[in-house]
């Protein structure tokens, strides 16, 4: 029934191969002289959960924006899935296999949960205007085919009860979940999560953590995540990269990073 879940005999062996999915080499980004990112290199391996942390203004969100092509870095090479690029039209990120959520929820407020998630399948729907006008035959078949996928995601993230609710009316925690659902609808290879738990209470954080792990585990999606809650970062991530003032100051397993003196200093030096 549930096609989201791969056949049962298949186990998570692929994750152990440690293949590099995304590689950033010496990337720099500046806005009119202001340096947001300075000469940063790191990689994300297929199947892992990679956290990007750092004090406020460290350039974390800019990093995600570089990865999905929203900002064009002035220097450096980005290799995703074996293909190298510097500039890319932002709307092409999805067809490359990169999806993301936003620090401040960026849902389509006037649309229902269902429509928001369906919008995430925009790049996969192709029936032309003629059929759309009839809403019959191929257009309807396509609509239903994608509705099925979307319903699986709704089931997966347990948001059945808000299927028809306009997202503007939802509480913040649920909006975040709908946003994750929309990102999943893009069936990404790499999922970028920008502070998925910001502004949530403990219970909501636990739910969200569970969903992130489920996504990583059951769908095999590689995840890059920005998060302020250190507890969450330590629990979820396989590897952590730490930024400060646009530079990389540490990179490694959570416990290594936690004990790194430079990281401790960076965090102590900044008040929250």
């Amino acid at each position: 029934m549930n096609v989201l879940v791969s056949p049962e005999d298949k186990t998570g062996t692929q994750r152990k191969e440690r293949e590099v999915l995304l590689d950033l080499e010496n990337v720099s980004l500046s806005f009119g002289g202001v340096k947001a990112i300075t000469n940063i290199s790191f990689d994300i391996q297929r199947g892992e959960i990679r956290a990007i942390i750092g004090p406020n203004g460290a350039g974390k969100t800019s990093m995600l924006n570089v990865i999905n092509g929203f900002y064009q870095p002035q220097q450096g090479r980005i290799t995703f899935n074996g293909k190298t690029r510097r500039a890319m039209k932002p709307h092409l990120a999805v067809s490359q296999g990169i999806a993301r959520t936003f620090q401040n929820v960026a849902l389509f407020k006037g649309m229902s949960t269902l429509d928001n998630i369906m919008a995430g399948r925009a790049t996969r729907m192709h029936r032309n205007m003629f059929w759309q006008i009839l809403y019959y035959g191929p257009a309807r078949a396509e609509e239903i085919e994608h509705r099925k996928k979307v319903e699986e995601i709704i089931d997966f993230l347990e948001i059945q009860h808000i299927r028809r609710t306009p997202v503007g009316k939802l509480p913040y925690g649920l909006q975040k979940r709908v946003e994750l659902a929309r990102a999943l609808a893009m069936e990404p290879e790499l999922l970028l999560l920008d502070e998925p738990m910001a502004g949530m209470n403990l219970e909501e954080k636990e739910d969200m953590s569970r969903f992130i792990l489920d996504v990583n585990d059951q769908l095999g999606t590689t995840i890059a995540l920005i998060e302020h809650d250190m507890g969450v970062v330590m629990d979820l991530s396989d590897r952590v990269v730490v930024l400060d003032y646009g530079r990389k100051i540490a990179d490694g397993a959570p416990e290594e990073v936690q004990n790194n003196q430079e990281v401790i200093d960076a965090y102590l030096g900044v008040s929250h």
Partner: protein, 358 residues
Amino acid sequence: MLYRTSGQFKTTYESDQALFPVKQDALLLGVILLAAYVVFPLTASEFTFKALLVPVLIYSLAAMGLNILTGYAGQLSLGTAGFMGVGAYACYKLTTIFPEMNVVVALALSGFFSAAVGVAFGLPSLRIKGFYLAIATLASQFFLVWLFEKWAWLYNYNASGAIEVRTMEFFGIVITGPTATPVTQYYFVLAVVTIIAFAMINLTRGRYGRMWKAVRDMDIAAELVGINLMRAKLTAFAVSSYVVGIAGALLVFFWKGAAEPNLFDIPLSFQILFIAIIGGLGSIIGNFLGAILLVALPVILNVLPDTLGLTINSATMEHVNDMIVGALIITFLIVEPHGLARFWALIREKLIIWPYPH
């Protein structure tokens, strides 16, 4: 109360995504269509056709076109009348260059001309946003009306500078020109409007509708879910202008009978915009409600003094009419900024949860 949805469960996505998943909505539409197709033609007077029914339909259609652009895709346009003019002039030229052409074909084709012009003027929307874009659409408005005036080829070098609709037949029935009966013209317009309205409903609830609404609600996010902004905006301009163009052609061919360039001047643009906004942005039925209000109101205001036995000269009446419409717009915006469609949606919601208050 009337909406009893219990027991209307869906076992397939086909039925869940049907045009009217709630039975009572379909029933209501049936009643309205019955009224439009059977009751009105049997009961309405010539005056009613000419002053009320036909204009309501045509204005609704124009507002529907505008609504696609402004209500669904979020691109504010102040140049609707110009595109209506393109439709009307295109239809006029088509029917004079190819006299044998079926009027339906000419009508359908003329929409493509306005769509092309719409796309051309829509190109700036890729760089310009918000009010700046609204002002930019005025450029098309002024430029097009000027063009209708100065380009004599458009009106076949008529001394009057106006276009006049000759008598044309549709499978042997006279449907345009002075000899066409109001009833046949009404039926024709009604059929066109019905077809386009269904087409627009379908379009807006499918992937195009989602694409447009995504651009409207948050263009950056839309881009990052993979929506090509250029394609989304230009299709909105194209579809919108197509519908608006057809409305313009209907306006001249099936209602006014003749047109001078200034018919398509800015007041018409505003009237269409009012209808769309009072009706409700982002809704299809709202256009009909808005048109009924804004077309019927002046007619009633004109008739009212007579029925009350008062004599007021028509110029004064027109001024009072302007004032009332202006005041009405402000009142409506204050009471329900989302228009009559939302108003109806609230009533429907009440009827569904009746007897509970909320």
